[in-house]
């Protein structure tokens, strides 16, 4: 009998720490840690880790289970299944890429695990009415529409050429750009998809040069943007404006290529000079900690992790309550105001306001919307 009590007491003693520390919460984080997308994935990891540290200071102890999807949807899916069934996480932040995030979204309702997508832009992810899928960043259509809105305040472009990576993100961004351009009466003269990482765009670019479009709209990851711009200069392609959507045009490395990056427009989910609470401070701390400029991915991951962990902690790690908490809550932070709402075709989508930046004299300057602008945009484009 005594033995039984002792056992019961031990069991209780073991169980109580979990119960007493209501602010300990288990969150899954699916990201691309290895593989071709790893360099961008690293920014997300850094952002998420910073959020975990900040949460600890606030008394929320996040038990983060990190999974690597290597950029492949099937790996992302199995990672999600593991998090849902074996690790019993309260919610999942990620994955990074559109293809992976979309694959996981299709299963989130089945497992009833809230998923918060930090930075994937494919529209479909929040268009299928999934109850447990939330997205912090603005979807792909905003990448292009916000830039065209900015250009329309500067001039009247007649024609546009598209050059983009044939990924989920590239294709869906250009599709929405085409629809928007059509609405604005801008004529499409070229539509060129390319294989990510291709070393030679010269032939494509010389074809575009011969068509002489007013705008060149590009969707490129990482350093493809540099290759594209280098070869544009080489060939002498000179539109009225280069519009760059996607990660490749918003990196510190692209910025460092002063000869070719000057005056290029890009849209971004986040910049560190925007007056959202804590944005500048986040930028400063990030730079001190990791020795490089934060990309918007880092900010998105930071905010997504904060929102997910705070909500899950407040709901005691219960998945359904966390889901309801995400649905009804609203936040204010480094990404501005966040609220997951249903609008147009979207469900649980944060109506995030994107920013247009232009590189001027080796610096990203926010030029649109005007309430966030730090400098006036320079138009039309000319090679340095």
């Amino acid at each position: 009998m005594l033995k039984k009590i002792a056992v019961a007491a031990t069991v209780l003693a073991l169980a109580i720490p979990g119960a007493a520390q209501a602010n300990k919460v288990k969150i899954g984080f699916i990201n691309t840690i290895t593989g071709a997308e790893a360099p961008i994935g690293e920014n997300l990891t850094n952002g998420a880790m910073m959020a975990v540290e900040d949460l600890k200071k606030k008394g929320i102890d996040v038990d983060l289970v990190k999974e690597d999807d290597t950029g492949k949807p099937e790996k992302a899916l199995s990672a999600f299944e593991k998090l849902a069934t074996r690790d019993n996480v309260a919610g999942v932040v990620g994955p990074y890429t559109s293809a992976c995030a979309n694959a996981v979204a299709s299963q989130a309702d089945k497992y009833k695990v809230p998923q918060l997508v930090p930075a994937a832009a494919k529209e479909e992810i929040t268009q299928k009415g999934y109850k447990y899928v939330f997205r912090l960043n603005a979807p792909a259509d905003v990448y292009s529409s916000v830039m065209m809105d900015a250009i329309l305040t500067l001039g009247k472009p007649q024609s546009i050429a598209y050059v983009y990576a044939n990924t989920d993100f590239g294709i869906s961004t250009v599709k929405t750009a085409q629809e928007y351009a059509k609405k604005l009466g801008i004529k499409e003269v070229a539509n060129e998809k390319y294989q990510k990482g291709a070393p030679d765009f010269r032939s494509t670019l010389s074809k575009i040069k011969s068509l002489n479009p007013d705008l060149i709209f590009m969707v490129s990851y990482e350093v493809d943007a540099i290759t594209l711009m280098r070869q544009s200069k080489e060939i002498g392609v000179t539109p009225k404006a280069f519009l760059g959507a996607g990660a490749g045009f918003t990196t510190a490395q692209f910025l460092a290529q002063k000869e070719i990056s000057n005056l290029v427009f890009s849209s971004s989910q986040w910049t560190d000079d925007v007056n959202w609470p804590g944005a500048a401070d986040f930028g400063k701390r990030y730079k001190a900690k990791f020795g490089k400029e934060p990309t918007y991915h880092a900010a998105c991951a930071y905010e997504a992790m904060r929102i997910m962990a705070e909500t899950a902690a407040a709901k005691g790690g219960d998945r359904d309550k966390t889901r309801d908490g995400l649905k009804s809550g609203s936040w204010k932070g480094i990404m501005g105001d966040v609220k997951f709402i249903d609008y147009e075709k979207f469900t649980n989508q944060n109506r995030h306001e994107m920013l247009v930046q232009q590189i001027q004299v080796g610096k990203y300057e926010t030029v649109f919307p005007s309430k966030y602008a730090t400098k006036k945009a320079i138009y039309p484009f000319a090679w340095k």
Partner: protein, 290 residues
């Protein structure tokens, strides 16, 4: 599409094809002499790229000049790899060779990732986007230089294989390993030489492409695939075949991009690849072995 655009595409294709050829030649020599398919070839190229990058950023040596350092270093690296690892699996089952070379490649790319992070490294020279315009056609300066270097290296290599005793010994080894051994050729040494040469050619290709491309630990895999297509197209083991294969792939990609569309260029490349193999299964310059 105007005539100019087409000429532009052909010229760009030939210039890029030159670098492809260099990658292919390294792979084909290794296969020819050792009958080992080197799946770590792209990673060797990546190591060459990192060498070039650090020679440029730390010592200020121009990428095109730095090949005089990269070539011997990569040769020694390749020789050691062959002596320590590859040598043990010569003549074993092909799957053992595949696993070993893939494994070596993974170790290389992941060690580099641990040491230098997965960040992209970009080598910016004053001529990275420079070009000369000839009759409305722009010719990339860095590509032209790298094409000329490739041409010189290929010529020297060809002379070495055809005219020197050691080159003949290498060719003999690639024709028939046992017979060469019976003739008193040190086939062990030939294998080390072949792998060293292959590695230094891959490293050189890496160095030549650095000023216009970018460098990261996983950059190799895309080029490994390309190198295989080039080598099989040209005929396994044939240096001329690999040169031809590289330039054909470069031109087809480039012309395909302007005549059809850039995302169809790979379809075009592989269609031509399959057609060549249908008509001539041993590749353009390959000899059937049966």
């Amino acid at each position: 599409m105007t005539f100019n655009v087409l000429v532009q595409a052909i010229i760009s294709g030939i210039l890029v094809g030159g670098v492809y050829a260099l990658i292919g030649i390294g792979l084909t020599i290794i296969f020819g002499v050792m009958r080992v398919i080197n799946f770590a070839h792209g990673e060797l190229m990546m190591v060459g790229m990192y060498m070039t990058y650090f020679l440029f950023t730390l010592a200020g040596i121009d990428p095109f000049v730095s090949i005089v350092i990269t070539i011997p270093l990569m040769f020694i690296f390749g020789g050691i790899l062959q002596k320590v690892f590859i040598n043990r699996i010569i003549g074993t089952l092909p799957q053992n060779q595949i696993l070993l070379t893939i494994g070596l490649g993974l170790i290389m790319s992941n060690s580099i990732m641990l040491a230098f992070t997965s960040d992209y490294k970009i080598l910016t020279t004053s001529y990275s986007s420079a070009s000369v315009s000839i009759a409305g056609i722009s010719v990339s300066e860095p590509l032209t230089i790298s094409f000329l270097i490739t041409a010189v290296i290929t010529a020297v290599l060809y002379w070495f294989l055809m005219k020197t005793d050691m080159g003949q010994a290498m060719r003999a080894t690639s024709q028939d390993r046992e017979a060469a051994q019976l003739m008193g050729i040190n086939v062990q040494r030939m294998s080390i030489l072949a792998f060293g040469l292959g590695a230094s050619l891959a490293g050189t290709a890496g160095a030549l492409i650095s000023p216009t491309y970018y460098i990261f630990p996983q950059v190799g895999s895309a080029f490994t695939l390309k190198a295989f297509v080039i080598v099989v197209l040209g005929g396994m083991g044939s240096v001329i075949g690999a040169t031809l294969g590289g330039i054909i792939i470069g031109v087809v990609e480039s012309v395909g991009a302007v005549t059809i569309s850039s995302d169809w260029k790979d379809v075009l490349v592989f269609t031509i690849f399959l057609l060549v193999l249908l008509v001539k299964p041993s590749g353009l310059m390959g000899k059937s072995r049966m």
